[in-house]
């Protein structure tokens, strides 16, 4: 493999012009004539028994075509590692905003009017908001029937703890016995919402033959199909998911939400049915990031060598397990970091509370872990009298090092990322008054599993590349994949036609998520194009009178290697392909990373595949009178293995970093007495351009060996992970207060500044002992 022509160049993505012209079709722009509009009736209370539900007035309203209640559904649950979530609440509601009923009507207004006429009598149950209280044995159970649920048998759980993950290595007590200094600390993180600008939307059509088609802006069509089929009690093949253009997902559009509902309503009414999740509903009951609380205790020798590292993370799962089981595993991997740690114990608890079931927001579990770990390491550095950069240089893993889970790293660009990010903010130079510098580093996974691509030669010598998963904005599908296909085929990028196929194509794909899209779909596209080239050379062989081995495909034509003048164009080959033979398919499904199974238990995500390494460094200024923070410099270095398209990579880094800035300072999904508080974008603050510093992106390239194309690693999620930690470390250096809870609002910083010196404030500070 010799990437040369296009790989590594900042080509303009294929969808940019349509998007700038306003002609690109998103889910919200799609319509099916004659559609009914539907709404969800959501619980106004956080935890209650449904005593009685009466929909008769709603059903009799003119223009209403269907009202569906929980009791009308088959007794099935969403298909997670732990099957605990009904599609509609039946006898109990467990969070504010939980779906209780569906209404389809001629207009959305009429459907909403009908939903408001559904009378529900509740018998209140105790509300559990605090996961630490919820996990106490005497707490009431949110799922009294928890033992009856279908679950991945490896999962350790009990009562309100829906998963207890353990990671151990070495002998933790022996490690602490070796330590010269032991530092302990507690950190907590809030929930933040993905903040995609396009709402979630789905339209379903039921056909006369019993099949169902759902058009929707999902990130993961095949998994959505599984959920729709489950609720409809149909074979998956009878359900077709048609992915539409997506205006931002970040994990919010990963799991099925409204898609099964419109399918059900379409079958019930015999009409197409459309549903849009309003911003208020989205902010009330979407799938935002899991709140966490983390305790860390680390023993270090006076030379800075870490000898014992014990952590405990409590993950607020919300009312249903959802993806929280994975977060417990990811917490174990993130809290042990890409560090050389001989003696480790990590306990991750996912705990039910009466809140929305938190979900997979970009880099799930990542920012929460680093906010704790990377601040803790700065405290440790101070206790040792070491520069935080130096402490990290002494403990980070490199090529050949084994991490706590037993996986051995290769192609590690961490040291380079760390040094380059630090250099970009003049780490060694003293900061002025009220200013300070901070950094944070980490690692992240490239989610694997299947991607399938079909490539075909088309009229005019263009190549059609059909993929089974949509473009979600990153440019993986409309930038990276066509670039890889064009490179492989020896054609200009403009001659690649990308077609996002629906699930009827059979092009199975694990979706546009998990930093996997460019890695896996790109890999499948490369292989499909190589298979297509073999067929093209065979076809050209007859025309040119030369065996395929003697032929060369470049510049959109096949020529004889020894006689470049004797050639046939791809356009001519396409024109003679009457039988449609010039089509080829390939599947990518790489081997997962190896780890030591005996070190982990109840871990559904035990290793990071083709891991990516990064370091963010920043300088901030804190106004001592107001607590307001200004970010002066922000540098983000990412080891991507091999850069396919630097401009797209920098776009991911910049965008992720600013989402992380939002989490650090502004964003907060707030609950009070179990009720969601700030459900508009006036009250839930997202960074605007005026809040966003320019981000300096630094691309580091340490190719990873194995099955990775060109040595590349996944990128999309990682940039959101380190900002809260790096910024908190900088705030501490600037203002002398360590903020251990997110968000670091001006109010919280001001309060910490003014409480300094009082014993109450100090008791909350991380402690070290000699």
């Amino acid at each position: 493999m010799n990437p040369s022509m296009l790989i590594g160049r900042s080509e303009v993505r294929l969808d940019a012009q349509e998007k700038a012209e306003g002609t690109y079709v998103y889910g919200m722009d799609f319509s099916v004539p004659g559609s009914l509009e539907a709404v969800v009736l959501r619980s106004p209370v956080p935890h209650a028994r449904i005593v009685k539900i009466d929909a008769s007035r709603a059903e009799s309203l003119r223009g209403v075509h269907a009202v569906i209640l929980g009791r009308d559904l088959p007794h099935v649950f969403f298909n997670n590692n732990l099957e605990d979530q009904p599609f509609l609440a039946r006898s109990v509601v467990r969070y504010h905003g939980e779906p209780m009923a569906l209404v389809a009507a001629e207009t959305r207004e009429r459907a909403a009017e009908a939903a408001a006429l559904i009378r529900v009598d509740f018998d209140p149950l105790p509300v559990l908001e605090d996961p630490e209280l919820a996990m106490l044995p005497e707490s009431p159970l949110i799922h009294p029937q928890w033992q009856s649920y279908v679950v991945d048998p490896q999962v350790r759980r009990g009562g309100n703890v829906c998963c207890h993950t353990i990671l151990t290595r070495g002998d933790i007590e022996a490690g602490f016995a070796l330590a010269d200094i032991v530092v302990e600390g507690d950190y907590s993180t809030q929930s933040v919402h993905q903040g995609h600008v396009e709402p979630r939307v789905a339209i379903a059509e039921s056909a006369g033959d019993g099949t169902i088609t759902v058009y929707c802006n999902t990130q993961l069509p095949y998994w959505t199909r599984t959920q729709v089929a489950r609720l409809m009690q149909m074979q998956e093949e009878a359900v077709r998911i048609v992915p539409l253009g997506i205006g931002g997902g970040f994990g919010s559009k990963l799991y099925a939400q409204i898609e099964p509902y419109v399918a059900l309503l379409a079958r019930r009414t015999g009409r197409p049915v459309r549903m849009v999740t309003s911003l208020e509903e989205e902010l009330t009951a979407g799938l935002p990031r899991h709140p966490t609380r983390t305790h860390l205790k680390t023993g270090v020798m006076s030379d800075g060598t870490i000898v014992a590292h014990q952590t405990r993370m409590i993950i607020d799962a919300g009312a249903y397990a959802g993806s929280s089981l994975e977060i417990a595993s990811i917490g174990a991997l993130m809290l042990t970091g890409p560090y050389r740690l001989p003696n480790v114990r990590m306990d991750g608890f996912s705990v039910y509370t009466n809140k929305t079931n938190f979900g997979a927001y970009r880099g799930p579990g990542g920012p929460q872990s680093l906010f704790a770990l990377e601040q803790h390491l700065d405290v440790l550095a101070d206790a040792l009298g070491l520069d935080p950069l130096e402490l990290r240089l002494r403990n980070i893993a490199g090529d050949g090092d084994e991490l706590a889970n037993g996986q051995v790293l290769q192609g590690v660009g961490l040291r380079e990322a760390l040094l380059k990010a630090a250099a970009a903010i003049d780490w060694g130079a003293a900061a002025q008054a009220n200013r300070g510098k901070g950094l944070a580093l980490g690692w992240w996974t490239t989610t694997l599993q299947v991607s399938t691509v079909r490539a075909s030669l088309e009229a005019g010598g263009k190549v059609r590349v059909r993929v089974g998963t949509p473009e979600i904005g990153t440019g993986a599908i409309m930038g990276g994949v066509p670039q890889i296909a064009a490179e492989t085929m020896g054609i200009p990028m403009q001659d690649v036609i990308i077609e996002v196929a629906d699930t009827g194509s059979g092009l199975r794909d694990w979706g546009s998520q998990g930093s996997r899209t460019a890695f896996n779909v790109g890999r499948a596209a490369r292989a499909a194009c190589q298979n297509l080239i073999a067929k093209i050379l065979a076809a050209a062989s007859g025309a040119l009178g030369m065996e395929p081995e003697g032929l060369l495909l470049e510049d959109s034509r096949v020529s004889i290697r020894t006689d470049a003048g004797t050639c046939i164009s791809l356009a001519a080959l396409a024109a003679t392909d009457a039988g449609g033979e010039l089509i080829a398919e390939a599947v990518s499904n790489p081997e997962p990373a190896r780890h030591k199974t005996e070190r982990l238990s109840s871990a559904v995500y035990p290793a990071f595949h083709y891991p990516h390494f990064y370091c963010h460094a920043c300088e901030v200024e804190v106004d001592p009178d107001t607590g307001q923070v200004r970010v002066l410099k922000y540098a983000a270095a990412h080891d991507v293995g091999h850069a396919i398209n630097p401009a797209l990579i920098e776009g991911q880094i910049e965008g992720g970093a600013i989402q992380g800035v939002g989490m650090a300072f502004m964003e907060d999904v707030r609950y009070r007495h179990g009720l969601r508080e700030n459900c508009t974008w006036t009250d839930y603050k997202l960074p605007t351009i005026a809040d966003a510093p320019d981000v300096e992106s630094i691309i580091v390239e340490h190719p990873v060996p194995g099955e990775a194309l060109f040595g590349m690693k996944g990128l999309g999620e990682a940039p959101v992970i380190p900002p809260p930690a790096a910024l908190a470390n900088a705030v501490y250096r600037a203002a002398g207060v360590r903020i251990t809870s997110l968000p670091m609002s001006a109010e919280r910083i001001w309060t910490a500044l003014h409480a300094r010196g009082s014993t109450e404030a100090e008791s909350a500070e991380p402690q070290s002992s000699r």
Binding site: A16, A20, E21, G22, Y26, H196, V197, E198, G655
Partner: protein
């Protein structure tokens, strides 16, 4: 439901005689009646800026303006910016500078930037930030949007 009203709206230089619900927003009429779906819909309460259009040259959240109030004014949407198949310099800059990711906020940003540059052809970074602070982008982190606005200034404010 109140009685419908007849209005004439001038959108992208074309006059459209329409019968609209007096409660209908300009956004609803643009998208549903005129099929101009480049103007995007999200919050419906003036927070996100995705629905920004120009009304007599000024950037307006079309979700907050009643369609009947737009009568007699010149409305420009994202579909009305290109001239003779040539992108407006602001559109071209967004494409070339990588300021487009998911793109859902892009039309609104471009309309706001066009308004900004017409009233202030050489804005400082702070003025760019103030001019575009009513639009939310969750993908780009804004670095490249800022860069695109400066590139558009270099391309010259007027369409080819």
């Amino acid at each position: 439901m109140s009685a419908h009203r007849d209005v004439v709206l001038e959108v992208n230089g074309n006059r459209h005689a329409l019968r609209v619900d007096p409660g209908a927003t300009l956004l609803e009429v643009l998208r549903a009646e005129l099929g101009l779906r480049g103007t995007k819909e999200n919050c419906l309460e003036g927070e996100c800026g995705a629905c920004t259009v120009l009304v007599d040259g000024k950037a307006v959240n079309s979700c907050l303006m009643l369609a009947v109030r737009a009568e007699g004014k010149k409305i420009t949407t994202i579909e009305g910016l290109a001239r003779g198949g040539e992108l407006h310099p602001v559109q071209r800059a967004f494409v070339e500078e990588g300021a487009v990711q998911c793109g859902y906020c892009t039309p609104g940003f471009i309309m706001s930037a066009v308004d900004l540059l017409e009233s202030n052809p050489d804005p400082t970074d702070d003025e760019v930030d103030q001019g575009l602070a009513g639009n939310i982008c969750r993908c780009t982190g804004y670095t490249r949007i800022r860069r695109a606005v400066h590139a558009a200034i270099r391309h010259g404010g007027e369409p080819a």
